[in-house]
Symmetry: C2
Subunit: 329 residues, 2 copies
């Protein structure tokens, strides 16, 4: 088990969906990420909160054994986000963002954290992401999130950051926007050339695509290969907030937990990420993760496998297929 | 190998995409379906054309060994469709539809065809679909396509047809519209209760979901289970026309070809459908299928498997995972 350093936001979210609402619930990308990852490994969280940060929320993070030496208390209020979702639940409509203390956040990495092998650079200014990287020794795997705001306004800085990134994790619109290319395979090639050896594309209710370099696989013309996993279809989705962050937390938490990052393990990690996201959206805020058990996680992983697997042609139908071949050139 | 009866349209398509255009190219749902299915089994095509139907197109269908006794020549012109696609390639914009002889189409099933075990009811008036079913003896598997036009204007008639259908094949918008339910799991339950034991939901560039009844699987509360397959990510998509029909043709052609419809085989059939659709969109009209080989089909099937598979937890990481369990309740 290796330790995992995460930098991101801790916030209070007010969210309305067609199924209910919460006010001032614990949220933020760093929170969702850390809690999801904490099921698999030791998490070091680097973030900031205001003096109004609630004792019960601190205790909850501690109960998940998340290391909080890197959680900085600053003068002012904690980051606030207010948003709502319509019936399709695919897109958040932001009603209000108050950065508060997060506007002045300058990540400082405690000495103990600097030898972390696994690094998650949450969705913050690319120059801050680089400053985090500058403070860690020699990480084994660096995963980076970003968004349209940084792609549009800080493109060159983001490219500079990507040089030090192993895995870029974005949604499909962001991948297309970053590469200025509507075809995802071509976009993946372009992003690949900028540094990240793996591109993970989150597609919400449609699942996840991963492009990576590997010889002798699909797209092997120049060694670009692909893995695809559907999302777990849920009968009840109450609150999509944090789905992307819990995906990232399950993904990187698992890799750090087993301390491997070969491609087969990365595929499993994508499924663990999908598992954690699928649980998280079942209730508001972090409510589902608060009571989630490791047994439930393993069971849903097995359900994912059952949901996606199909027999190889070497199996029972091989001879029948060979007969069919007689019909064709 | 069992024979496959398909009813659908034969048309001349004029299509413009960002990558080029074709005028009066052979198309129509019955054509795309039959040509794709012909790689796997004997197809009986029931459709109609006008006196202007070109000899070369007839010869092409014959070269695929498609049985054309059910292809009726009628007075008038062949069905014409004109459409265009933008850069996202997800949605066709219809510029012109001239039904011509298809407006008076009344499917008549030749005697030889009536004992077919596998039936494909293409996207036509639900009452015509029932009339086709009324003319066949005792089919093993009935697959039905439909669209928003019939869901909106002929809902009761469509429900009547669904009673005799084993597999309904629609896209996600159509599934939601049909069930009047935005959540796909709930929509699947509702449609399931109307007759079809399997619901195949085509999601275009995002792949395919299948809901089916099975005990002891995900959603096992009431025996509804699911299979998900991503689409094959292509670097060059030139013309999406016929993607849904070639998917259906590969799907049902394979089932008829191996003459099985157990759930494992149906999963493989979904992958063969995805394979055929992925080839079809690589060139305009039927151009890619005209030169496709059986070896290419088998190779891409294997690539699909490589693209979607990941290790079970019983594998190498089992013991590491058990160590992680110590962190959790």
């Amino acid at each position: 088990m290796a330790s995992l350093l995460a930098v991101g936001s801790v916030a209070y979210d007010s969210v309305q969906t067609p199924f209910g609402r919460v006010e001032e619930a614990l949220g933020g990308s760093g929170t969702f990420f850390s809690v999801a990852a904490s099921f698999f490994t030791q998490v070091y969280l680097v973030a900031c909160v205001g003096r109004d940060f609630r004792r019960e929320d601190l205790e909850f993070l501690e109960s998940r054994e998340i290391d909080l030496e890197g959680l900085e208390y600053m003068e002012g209020e904690t980051f606030r986000w207010k948003g709502e979702y319509g019936y399709d639940l695919n897109e958040a409509h932001t009603l209000e963002t108050r950065l508060n203390v997060f506007a002045h956040f300058e990540p400082k990495i405690p000495e103990r954290y600097r030898k972390s092998d696994y690094i998650f650079l949450g969705n913050i200014d690319p120059s801050l992401q680089r400053r985090v990287l500058g403070q860690v020794a020699d990480p084994q795997l660096v995963v980076c999130d970003t968004m349209n705001y940084w792609i549009e306004g800080h493109f060159e800085s983001l490219l500079e950051t990507l040089k030090g990134v192993d895995i870029l994790m974005v949604n499909d619109a962001e991948a297309r926007q970053l590469a200025q290319e509507s075809n995802l395979v071509k976009a993946a090639r372009k992003i690949h050339a900028w540094g990240p050896r793996i591109l993970v594309i989150k597609q919400g209710e449609y699942g996840v695509l991963m492009f990576h370099s590997k010889q002798g696989q699909p797209f092997s013309d120049d060694g670009l290969s692909v893995f695809g996993a559907p999302a777990y279809p849920l009968e009840d989705v109450f609150d999509p907030t944090g789905a992307g962050d819990t995906f990232a937390g399950g993904f990187l938490g698992y890799l750090a937990g087993v301390n491997r990052s070969d491609l087969q393990t990365v595929r499993q990690a994508i499924v663990f990420g999908s598992v954690m996201a699928s649980f998280n959206v079942e209730e508001f805020s972090l409510d589902r993760l608060r009571k989630l058990t490791y047994t439930e996680i393993k069971l849903r992983y097995s359900e994912f496998r059952e949901m996606t697997h199909f027999e190889d042609l070497e199996g029972a139908l091989g001879s029948e297929l060979d007969r069919l071949a007689g019909r064709n050139p």
